[in-house]
Symmetry: C2
């Protein structure tokens, strides 16, 4: 048997090899600080290292693991490194990892209730649990006309609700009204919204990204929205979708949900709230205020895979009217018909999403909630926010730098001030500083542009990050800044 | 520490608990034949068994595993059971499972090359490997203008190429031409195509599902296609997309790629080939003929997660013109800009798919190819096809039954003949037989309707299935048929 290699499936071969893999992964976490955080390889590096074609004969797991160590890990950017501060976090955790393992072990495809009732029902229950932790209004829970569903990403979440809203209005106005439909959001909204519009055939000029600025701390102004809607109605356009963000990608700006939501409601507009990153913080009473007004929303999204210890992917979407999703996304081919679905006794999540097939993703969220419990999860969030506060203090204490926007959650937006207030030089300077610190391999941060200024983003949120990592990161930033300023 | 439960991430806690999970999963496979294949629970069963809200304090892994055993597994439909013959298979394997573990362990988000160069590069390389095993034309490989990408599902694969094709033609004709665009496929095409049309704003009446019948063994007739295209052009419509299937969901019908592809080419139509299920068989020289003509296609899709031992999800899509995808699906927000992307030196897979984030899915496909090797994979496919042949023989030898369509791969379409040739009774009879066999919990099969007849589908493809399972399944079918016929 050894010469034939592994059986396609064999419980004892799985046991033996998976134990080896556990040790490999545990050792990876143990040594994760030894790797450059941002991979330093050159484009095309891997093709030089691997053969041109798949082998005819089986290789051993040890061969493969040796290659992972020698060839793959150097090309990995280590999102789980404690010195990862780029973009937003994408949390792994012991519980999330165990949930992924179990889901991969059962390996069922839960498109309809009947294809694994437990997968559908656990998802409904666990999203009710999480909805309650976030104190979402009851009409988002599965006990009424609404409910939660796990999407892969926030991009898919905004796409499916945009389609539901589009089709709701087209059913009234006829499908040729598509060219008149208008979407609103701030210019700080994630690019996923524009992509969703493009996919759904919304005309690009009708995706209106309203200007924000430092006066509202980059939040969307209700006045501006009201005026845009009136103007568009007066020219015969049809406003139908508003996306507000709680915790924008650039700077964690928080759009004022309550005022925006009222405008949406008065105009019969679908109101979606994207709290992909910041939603996690709202399980703490002191941060719940940032989603006040969510009761006005038609849909609400947060990514448990960002800052909630649930391995990627797990994007939680709640809607008040599940039928709007189903009317837009359902299919009912003969080969999937079954008693439970035909009798309308069950939820078939295939009709709430783009793909047909779906993994058992609720397992990992369920395990995160049970193996940590609410209080530990709150501590976890508060710890990261405190570390961000600490970093903000470090920046503020160095007069060569400035904190650019008020810190709300665990992201600090800052920059190195251009010497002699020469703003022409400021953007290049910060671009060079970003490049310099990331090239050290010691930390990984990312950037954005706000009001024309190139800004550095320091997002705390990796599960292993401790105060010492923040201190060390600041030291790298100071050292590289000194070198840059010295060379001017 | 014990009282506080698990740390969010700790290498030794991960090691200890993941070893426990490995044993749990290995024991699951060891005992998988003890479960009813199709879950026998009633809708709503789980809500009775779980609390209404998440716990405040952490629970232990043992608590959770006990609940998985007692409450979750009874609600699972066991796709990995050796007696699972429904729909199409969704393979788990030792190698696929190990790949999932490693991907969950590294837990990076590979939207752009820079966010983990190894993830992008391994995906390009491994899809080149698989493309070569399938003897795809070179212009589908990443070394030219084309390349492969892993989508979640075949639904997403057909959606992204439909959007690429749509936007290519709309760039020429202007976006108001949307209402004139026409899609063609056979009426046996997977419902994912209609869903993609709905998402992309193609008018439903312009999604033309051409009739098939037993005379072509449910394959699309090139003559019918040619006529439909001429008719539509003459009324001012714009044909732009053709989807052919190799191995339809109902009956593994194979559309004639070469003739269809030539018609598509002559009319400037994007030609997509969906070989989601049957593509895997084409790694065997004796089955490669079924995708002859793929050289005429613009895109080709097969699901490694169906019948290729790669845990769900892993849908391999190849295109000849990657720029068509990128022009339709790219976004370039400031916060994702980086040197490698800006210099156009790398592939950023975010622009080849619907979501932004993506998992490191190439790892599992790489491990399947390396840990089994081509020859074992071919044996695996042939073994299933031989088991299906064996089942076909059993059906043919019982005069109460008939094989409905010629078996090509590992699916047998058959039915119980209605006594006295009373066709009015045939559909109910087979519906009742399906219900009866699935209610035993001993096997799980599914159904379809062909030319108005209710047909049973027996799809061999679970990794643990052996001849004895097929023999036993046939016994269940015969026994339940006898009981049904006896009660008439």
């Amino acid at each position: 048997m050894e010469s034939k290699g592994l059986q396609p499936m064999d419980s004892e071969q799985l046991r033996e090899n998976a134990h080896k893999m556990v040790d490999f992964i545990a050792d990876y976490y143990k040594s994760i600080e030894n790797f450059p955080v941002l991979s330093q390889v050159e484009p095309g590096y891997l093709r030089e290292l691997l053969p041109d074609s798949a082998p005819n004969q089986p290789e051993t797991l040890q061969n493969v693991l040796d290659d992972v160590q020698a060839k793959i890990l150097p090309g990995v950017t280590h999102w789980q490194s404690p010195s990862y501060f780029a973009y937003y976090p994408s949390n792994s955790s012991v519980a999330g990892f165990l949930g992924e393992m179990l889901s991969a072990g059962i390996n069922m495809v839960g498109f309809s209730w009947i294809t694994s009732p437990a997968a559908t029902e656990l998802e409904m229950i666990v999203l009710d649990w999480l909805g309650k932790l976030l104190k979402l209004p009851e009409d988002f829970l599965s006990t009424g006309q609404g409910g939660g569903v796990i999407q892969g990403t926030a991009s898919e979440a905004v796409l499916v609700v945009l389609l539901a809203a589009r089709d709701r209005v087209l059913r009234k106005l006829g499908k040729n009204a598509l060219e008149k439909l208008v979407v609103y959001a701030s210019d700080q909204t994630h690019s996923a919204l524009q992509k969703a519009c493009q996919i759904g055939g919304i005309h690009p000029e009708n995706c209106k990204l309203l200007k924000t600025g430092s006066s509202t701390n980059y939040a969307l102004s209700p006045d501006l929205l009201g005026k845009a809607i009136s103007d568009d109605i007066s020219t015969g356009l049809v406003p139908f979708f508003l996306c507000a963000t709680v915790g924008t990608t650039s700077s964690t700006a928080v759009d004022p949900l309550l005022s925006l939501g009222k405008i949406a409601k008065n105009n019969g507009i679908w109101f979606h709230v994207d709290a992909a990153y910041a939603g996690s913080a709202c399980i703490c009473p002191e941060y719940r205020c940032y989603i006040d007004g969510v009761e006005e929303a038609d849909s609400f999204n947060m990514n448990a895979h960002k800052w909630f210890l649930t391995n990627f992917d797990c994007s939680a979407l709640w809607v008040k009217d599940r039928n709007a999703l189903i009317q837009s996304l359902s299919t009912n081919p003969e080969f999937l018909k079954n008693k439970a679905s035909q009798a309308n006794m069950v939820v078939d999540y295939k009709d709430w999403q783009i793909p047909l097939g779906r993994r058992f993703r609720s397992l990992k969220l369920w395990m995160v909630l049970r193996l940590y419990g609410l209080e530990n999860l709150q501590c976890y969030i508060r710890n990261h926010i405190n570390l961000a506060k600490y970093f903000e203090g470090l920046v503020a204490a160095d007069s060569r730098f400035e904190v650019v926007t008020p810190r709300i959650f665990s992201l600090v937006c800052f920059r190195l001030l251009p010497p002699n207030n020469n703003e022409d030089h400021g953007n290049n300077l910060n671009h060079d500083l970003l490049d310099a610190v990331n090239s050290t391999g010691k930390i990984f941060i990312s950037h954005t542009v706000l009001s024309g200024k190139y800004i550095l983003r320091f997002a705390v949120g990796a599960p292993l990050t401790e105060e010492r990592h923040v201190t060390a990161a600041w030291k790298v930033l100071q050292d590289e800044a000194s070198a840059l300023l010295g060379s001017l």
